[in-house]
Amino acid sequence: MKQTYDKAAANELIEDIGAVPEMLVQILNALVENFSCINDEAVRHVADRLNLSRADVHGVVSFYHDHRTEPAGKRLVKICQAESCQAMGSDALTAHAEESLGLEMHKTSDDGEITLEPIYCLGNCACSPAIMINDRVYGRVDARRFDELISAPD
């Protein structure tokens, strides 16, 4: 994943998806997937391409949790905080994660390796508690399994 915004690559993505306002959410999703976040340059560029105001684009970016404006760490670790996982100890798992990683929720480690975030339901509720690392879901994660997953190579 590139960490900096690449206008030419972004243009290709926008063309593929469709440079029309109705595709704005889909375009922003693609920008996050490809450039890790949506920075000011991206907002200006997308607004320009879709003939929207920057405020229009910002309004959408700031609405959706996925549309991050700061790059995530190499590994984006999301721990489910919803009811089913609560019933199986997600609070304790979260506390363990914060302590073992020395990271609070919503923060990225100084070396840019790991970002820790809450998520509300991964749809893996018969195998709670669940976490997601980048795009992969893991079920029945206790403290030991969490440590194994974190220390495993990418």
Partner: protein
Amino acid sequence: MGDPIRVFVPRETSAVSLGADEVAERIQDHGADVEIVRNGSWGMCWLEPLVEVEIDGERLAYGPVTVDDVTDLLKAGFLQGGDHALKLGSVADIPYLKNQDRWTFRRCGLTDPVSIDDYRANGGFDGFLAATKLGTAGIIDEVKKSGLRGRGGAGFPTGIKWQTVVDAPADQKYIACNADEGDSGTFSDRMLMEGDPFCLIEGMMIAGLAVGADRGYVYLRSEYPLTREVLGEALNAAKAAGWLGKDIQDSGFNFEIDLHIGAGSYVCGEETAMLESLEGKAGVIRYKPPLPAIEGLFGKPTVVNNVITLASVPDILIEGADKYESYGVGRSKGTLAFQLAGNIKYGGLVEKAFGLTLRELIEGFGGGTASGRKLRAVQVGGPLGAYFPEDLLDTPLDYEAFIELGGMVGHGGVVVFDDSVDMAAQARFAMEFCAIESCGKCTPCRIGAVRGTEVIDRIVANENRDGNLELLGELCDTMVDGSLCAMGGMTPFPVRSAVKYFPEDFNRPPGAKN
């Protein structure tokens, strides 16, 4: 060398979350005489990864299989049906599955989800072909007769919604499938889309045919990356085989489906917020009326249905509305794919006719709590659903019975908690979640949820407890009566039920734990 041995290993989020990919890889490494089929899940999550071996046309199951078990299984000759501690026999004989009323999920687990041939061989697209002969009025009559109601949670009669779209004159109409399954404790949409995606596609085609729409959208949540992959493959396969596109199978009917991905917003599961998001905007809800059936996507008449609603339709046209209607009780007809989640021994998906009790579901199918401790509370219908105590478990699962109790069946998610749960904390979480996810359009939801967490904090801290409990009650009334949609309007359901059925949790010395 004979035909390769077919081995089924689910490509489904729960199974994969427990190592199914690695298991499939390890079995494949065994040699070229094995063909791995990545099927959907049968829904018995406690047995995942559940591996099946096909021997003389019969499938024998083993599970739960970890990657470390594979060598041992091979040694025991499991590819020839050898005995092993993990051997389960035929899945059809497992009581959990045997005692279900599989309708919408009848192919899930059985077939290769992205194989058109497999789908056709198991009755797939027969519903669509029947629909081309029935015509608009015929299709809608059948759907009305079946008693099918919206499975997303609201339970609105599907046939009447479709009729409304038919009756709205317009040059363009749309089918919008709500696959933004955000409720905690629910995963039936995901399992259907990962296990039998063509069934959803077929349901959307039939809806399109019925109301005269040639374009459909699936709005899928971003938290389901594997679903996106499987559904994307299925859409491409359907297009390539002429089941989507122009003049489908020489029927003269054109239909296309676009897949849109959400961006992590819970409220986008509300139908009008979803439409806004499909239009590329922030998921801020719309006032109703106008109903989406009259002015929906891009202002055009739109059928907005949940995944399970649409996927239930093909078999209604094949098996007949009467048969579907013969399942269920009262005004809750047909089957619902219940989902057993949280602190439950045998978690998974149970498709059953309406009318069984919560106890039958949780104790009969689910085997009680996973922790082995006493069950204390059950939340039914997602984060906006009520919490029920143990003594209400004999309530039959039907829409009306749950509304009477101040709750809802919703999308059929059942989350079990043992006696370690702190219900004041659960009530606080309901308000906190609403504050995080509110779209901000109406004040009762946007501000009420924030005030709700503060009031509950004061109650727990024993600051003017009686006065604040009264205030919480009034706040809940305001949110129920004054919110524009279910987000603010139903957040009080879990809060009120927690206060009503578990008052002791709001009445402890400050700092005391349950």
